[in-house]
Every structure is written in structure tokens, then in C-alpha cells.
Symmetry: C3
Subunit: 320 residues, 3 copies
């Protein structure tokens, strides 16, 4: 239950107490960050540490969020973006990771196109790993920052109706959110074209599967729009972007079916005019920029917990 030196690979196995610990620390760090007026941040708990951002998939936003989080806490950050061509063989990921570890970093943040890559590495490396997204599998820090944002807006996730809209079947964001939200007592439903719904929705713990957006959002306290993966559009899982937008996009019209006090979320980057209109994204229901702001905070909290107890433990681990 303690986070010390632990990896975060998936939210599926996180218990309520563990999640609560991250949210609590995030709240404390957010308060500290916002109140800080000096020149040096008063909680440099990662000073002297080296965090490696190993991103096999490009992601300016997520990478920046981890980089800023680590630096705010005083760490050095080494950014690595191996080219896809050099990592086609599985051995190469392991070889890359073992070599990196031999350079004595303290934490590895990994994004990889293959589901399970962070888990595989966690079996051969001694340093902790944070999964920053692996294939269709999980994106745990996204789910934690979403949860933190929901609790900021609604007090608690417990008993809330959360609707996730879009390509649930191929979304690591959806999967990680379903796990954390259910663990925290929310009721999670999904909505989208039948071809994009998860084959085993009930086993995932999904309460209801909607194909009609208006029906789906009628009872929702939280509506989480997923990004349409434009690059997968040629797989023809829905007729056209126009049609997708008309049926499952959130716009000035559909947003009128929302309950009062409901919030709209999106993991970014937005396809404005497709799954969400610009108007709605920057409208009064939207907490999208709060998600971005909280993303850095949640990652600070997680790193802070992993290195809790100060430098000694880490020093031992690094050269253990």
C-alpha cells in the first residue's frame, strides 16, 4: 500500500487506499504550488534525481507534463525518443532499457505502442517505472488526473454517473478510467458506435452501453469525450467524421441534454469540430484545462510518493 520505490503499470490493480493516497498528496502539492511565491519551490523532493522520459510514441503534451512535474520537484530529466525503426524487435526495448538502467537513473517514464511493454520492463529493471501509455492497454496517470479533476469539481466520485463517449474498444484512457472510477464507487457507462464498444463491456464493469448520445448524457454527472483517432479512420469503424460528429459529437445542441452541474472532460488533444465543438470545449461545463493543469500536479504527487522517505532509500536503490 505504500508507494515507495514502486512502479505504476496499471490502475486495474490499484486499491482505493492507494488511489486515495495519490489524490491526497496531489491536493497538498497543488496547494503548495499555488501558494508558492519564493524563488525556489519549497518541496524539492527529487533534487539530485534523474528521471528518464522514454517515449517510443511521440507525445508533446504527456511528455511535457512529466518533464515539468519532475523539474518542479528538482529532478533532472533526460528525454529520449528512440526512432521506431530501431525498436521493431522486442529485444531492442529490453536492451535499451537495460542500458539506460546501467546509467543509474532513478525513475523511468515509458510510453510504448505495445500493450504490456512497461510490465515486461518492470520484471527486468530494478528502478520504478511509470506507464505513460502502452498500446490499447492503460494510461494510469491520465485516469488519476481525471479522478482528481472530478473530485475537485464534484467533491467525490462516489455514486457519480460517468459517461465515456467514443472509441472505448481501443482506448487506454477509457480502460484506466473505468478501473479507477469503479474502484472509487462511480457508476461508469459508455457510449458510441457499436463497432467501437468494448466486446466485454459488462466484464469491464461498465454499467450501461449507449448508442444514443442524448440518452447517455441525460443522467451523467461527468461526460468524458475521447479523441477520435483520425489515423485509424481508414479502418472504417464508422461511416465518416461528419457522421461521427453528428451522432456522437458534443456541440451546442447536444450539450443541452446535460444535467445542471455536469462536467465535460477530454484527455486532449482535441479534434475540434469532430468529437467536441470549440464552443463546448471552452464553455462553462468544460474542465478540460483543469485536467491539463492537474496532470502536472498528479505526476508530481506520484513521483513524490515513489521517492518518499527522502534521498536515502533512493540512493540505496539506485546503486543497490
Amino acid at each position: 500500500m505504500a508507494w515507495l520505490n514502486r512502479s505504476l503499470i496499471e490502475t486495474r490493480k490499484l486499491g482505493e487506499q492507494e488511489i486515495r493516497q495519490v489524490l491526497k498528496r496531489a491536493g497538498e502539492l497543488k496547494k503548495l504550488w499555488r501558494g508558492w511565491r519564493g524563488t525556489e519551490f519549497p518541496h524539492l523532493s527529487l533534487r539530485g534525481r534523474t528521471v528518464v522520459n522514454l517515449f517510443f510514441e511521440a507525445s508533446t503534451r504527456t511528455r511535457s507534463s512529466f518533464e515539468l512535474a519532475a523539474r518542479r520537484l528538482g529532478a533532472h530529466v533526460l528525454n529520449l525518443h528512440p526512432e521506431a525503426s530501431s525498436v521493431t524487435k522486442g529485444e531492442t526495448l529490453f536492451d535499451t532499457a537495460r542500458n539506460l538502467e546501467a546509467m543509474d537513473p532513478d525513475l523511468l517514464v515509458l510510453r510504448h505502442a505495445s500493450a504490456g511493454a512497461p510490465y515486461q520492463l518492470s520484471k527486468i529493471l530494478k528502478i520504478p517505472i511509470i506507464n505513460a501509455g502502452d498500446g490499447f492497454h492503460e494510461h494510469p496517470t491520465q485516469a488519476l488526473l481525471d479522478l482528481f479533476t472530478i473530485e475537485e469539481a464534484k467533491g467525490s466520485a462516489k455514486g457519480l454517473n460517468v459517461l465515456i463517449v467514443g472509441d472505448i474498444a481501443h482506448s487506454r484512457v477509457a480502460r484506466s478510467n473505468i478501473y479507477t472510477l469503479r474502484t472509487m464507487g462511480a457508476r461508469v457507462s459508455v457510449c458510441g458506435p457499436p463497432s467501437l464498444m468494448p466486446p466485454l463491456a459488462r466484464e469491464l464493469g461498465v454499467a450501461e452501453v449507449f448508442h444514443d448520445l442524448r440518452k447517455g448524457i441525460a443522467d451523467a454527472d461527468v461526460v468524458m469525450m475521447l479523441r477520435v483517432q483520425l489515423e485509424r479512420q481508414n479502418q472504417m469503424q464508422f461511416p465518416s467524421l461528419g457522421e461521427y460528429s453528428r451522432f456522437w459529437g458534443l456541440n451546442a445542441d447536444t450539450v443541452q441534454s446535460l444535467k445542471k452541474g455536469a462536467i465535460i472532460m477530454h484527455p486532449g488533444p482535441l479534434n475540434e469540430g469532430v468529437e467536441i465543438s470549440q464552443e463546448v470545449a471552452s464553455g462553462p461545463y468544460s474542465v478540460i484545462l483543469n485536467q491539463v493543469n492537474n496532470g502536472v500536479i498528479i505526476r508530481m504527487a506520484l513521483m513524490d510518493l515513489i521517492f518518499d522517505g527522502g534521498s536515502k532509500a533512493g540512493g540505496d536503490r539506485r546503486r543497490g
Copy 2:
């Protein structure tokens, strides 16, 4: 007239007092930098700050200059180079910028291929923006470092004859320099093939338009050579590079028409053998490397003025 928390989008609107303030601070910081022998620079006025270099156009030199300037003053620097493919739509620039701002940086340095991009962003963001070059519009820090270099060499820009040579019509460097130089009392003329002269030279405040380089430089105290944009050559605005070089290039031969004490400038990177010969670029008239050295100093001065008054104001703004 105070710089505190202000953006720098264009030099066209800068008054003499504002420009003088930057030059003065640059002079102080240059003296401090050159005299410094300790391990920690004694003016870490950006400590705890995060500067984002958002460069939509690649530019190793300008980006490095901003990065070094920010770090010398103690800031963290986040370098972002979004791929052109992902930013073809205007919304994406705004979305990118709003997301970045939500991560609580303190300053945005922006280079963009579209004239007006920094101005557009300055209307929606609360943090200050420094324009690091926008399309054919402006490159204000280049003009300020050029001015600083001119004053170092010639005492004052007032009353000097400055000749800018090359593709004036498409040069943001020329435009920004014309504005600052005229504001400071210099007389600015331009020279080059007719097809590359600005259509409204007189309205820009240009004193004379030369098509003959020897005539143009005869009276010049400062000759500023522009880079030939080789990638635009197929637009056939001049017959060939050889011909360009023969008529408008500065070489051992043409340089003999220069007045004694005149200086030669170039914003870099050089096309040696095209607009300037290697011999002239590293010869006694050239202050080209002084420009590079002063580039870091001017950017330090500007950031220093923007955050003047210390951390408190910035802290308030950042999380205001």
C-alpha cells in the same frame, strides 16, 4: 513603458525609451557576465521560472540563444517543436498554446511560419510572449541585438547610415530593423534586385532604394547583409545564385567601396560565397560573431525586464 509581464510582439510599436531600457539592461548584464568568475551567476532573476520555447519552424541558433539566455538567469527551459503536419489548422495553434499555458509556464517564446501568430496568441494567453520570428512579419529580438551591436561598435545609432542588402520584401529581420533603427534616429536604405525590394519602401520609412551595391555602400556606416533564402530560389526572383552573388554579394572586391570604420552584419546562418564571402565574413569589418554573442545578452535583458520586480509578481501572474 515598463516591461513588467509584457509581451514583445513587434518592434514597430516600441518607443525610444523602451528600446533604451532594453539596451541599458543588456549593457549591465553583459558587463556582469564577462566579469563573473564564481560558480553561480550572480543574477539568477528567473530562478524557479519555466520558459517554453515553442518553435514551429526549426532554428537551432535562435532556439539555443533563447535557451542559454533563460538558463543563465536560472530558469528551466522546455523545448517544443510541434511537427508541421499537426499544426496546419489554426485551431491547433490555439489549442496547443492554451494547453501549454494550463501547465503554468511563465513565458512563451514563439516562432511560427504565420505572420501574426504571436499577436493572436497574446490575445488569448495571460503569460507574456516573445516573438522569435513570425513569417515575413517581424523578428524583434534580432533587431534589438543588432542595434545593441551597432551601438557597441559606433557609439550610437543616431545619424548613422544603415544599408540593408538582400530580399527586403520577405525579410522579417529587415522589417524589425527598419523600425528600431528609425526610432533610434538612423537613416535606413535598402539594396537588392528590384524584385526583392519592398513594394512600399517609402511608407516603411526607407530613405533610399539602391539597385547597385557599390553605390549603396559608399555612404554606409553599417551594412547589414540578409541571408538568401535558397529554398525560395525556384520562385525565380533573381536569375541565379551566381548572378546574385556577382551583383549583390559582399566580397573582397566590393568591400573596398566601404567607408573606413564601417561595420558588416549578418543575422546568420551565412550562405558563404552567396551573399557574403568567407573572407569578408571573418574579416576586420565584420561584427557577425558579436551579433551572436549579443543575441544571448539581449534575450537575457528582455527576460530580466519582463520578470523585473522579482518572483512575487510572477507568482501572482502565473497562478492569478
Copy 3:
């Protein structure tokens, strides 16, 4: 013989005393690094310094190793990867380097595809340069870290039989290692297909040239496997990867010809299954990850020696 402010271009000219100085400092720094438990590394001898990594060839590992080394000692690191397209002309390398120097960095780490590039730059720049690999010429820090690793494992290089296996003719790693190992009193032999042996092996100081791996390794205390340059395979210097692996690859079978206590090295990255099997690379003879770990340490030692005497000398040089 003192390292202060000196460049490291090649190992060919290093004397035993100079090499010994680097190894000694590396040993001290490794002890300090492993024993360190505080938050701030106790030997920040490069604080306030700027190290530029100028890599014209991509190399995540070597670049990361230099970056981590410089940062551990407190330096800022500026990473630059000019695109090949912009550096086809020799002038551009000089122009790039002169411009960089004008920005007042303290050290340049250079990797370039052309043999001699670091040497050429060392003639025009005032700041020290570390060659991080130049064409087929040299890779001096690799040889120093290899030597350090050998001495850790075997006490001393003096009198050892070292066998280098692979494309000796085109390997800067082999060349640099042959020079340092012979200077330190080792006996160096080489092994591989005749087409990949150096034309003047005897003049290089090579003791024996083997074409049969089993014979070559029978007496070796150290076996250094070189990476097969897969991208040069179409030059047909050996029939096929399969054949190369069968005759000159180290695997569970061939490794049985090794002497007891022998060590296996590889500069990385590995082509597992080609020049070395996964099993052997992570087996008991292998010191490959020690090489990676020591790579950072050796680069720390070298930078530390270059800036020895503290900030004053550097300050003078930087702005001299």
C-alpha cells in the same frame, strides 16, 4: 600532461601518464557517486558551466552518457542535432561551431561522420572539444571507459591478451582501443573475416590477425566484440549475417573456448543473435553493462579534469 582546458581528439597521442590520470579520477568519482546518499552530489565541479552536445550523427546512448555526466557535475547541457542536409558543406560545420562558440559555452562534445572533424574544429575554436566519435577515425572516450572496465575486472591491462572481433577496418572503437591498450602494455590481436581486417594491422601495433574465432579467443583475457554495421551489409564484405554469426559470433557454443576468468565486452548497441547471442551478452563473462555504467563515470572524470582548478580558469577562458 595536465588536462586543464585541453581537448581530447584521439587516443593515439595519449601517454600512459595522461591515461592513468583519467582512470584515477574516474575511480575516485565512481567511489564518490556510489557512496553518495545526500540530495546534492558533493562534487559539482561544472556548476555554472555549459556543455554543448553537438551530434551530427544520431546516438542516443553516447549523447545520454555525456549529458548525464555533465549534469551530475552540475553543468547545463545544450543538445544540438543539426540535420544532415544542412551540413553537407564543410563550411557549415565551421560556421556552426564558430557561432556556437560565440554563445560562450565551456565545452563542446562533437560527434561527426567525417574523420578529422573534431581536429579541424580544435584548430579554430578556443574552447576544449571532446571527440565523441568521428567517422572511421577514433572514439576516445569509448576506449577509456573500456580500459577502466578492464582494469576493474582484471586489475591491470598490462600483459593482458585482448582480442577485438569484427569489422576492425571500419571501427573507430577498435582503433582507439588498440592505441590505449598498447600504451598500457596489453597485447592486442584482432579477428574477423579477411575483408574486414585493417590493411596495415602490424603498423597499428596489432600482435596477431586471426580468421578463426576459436583460435583467437583461446588465449584471450578480454574479448571485445564489435557491432556489425548492418547498414553497410550491402557492401558485401561478408556473405550473409547468418554466415557472419556462425563464424565470428559469440554464442553458447563458441564461448566454451574462453579461458576461465576472461571477460566479454561490447560497445553497444548489440545486434543480438548476430555478433553475440543474448545468452552470452547477459552471461557470467559479460561486463557489457559495467561498460555502460563506467561510460558516464569516465566522461565525468574527463570533464572534471578539463575544468580542474575550478571556475576561475574556465571563467577566464570563456570570456578571454
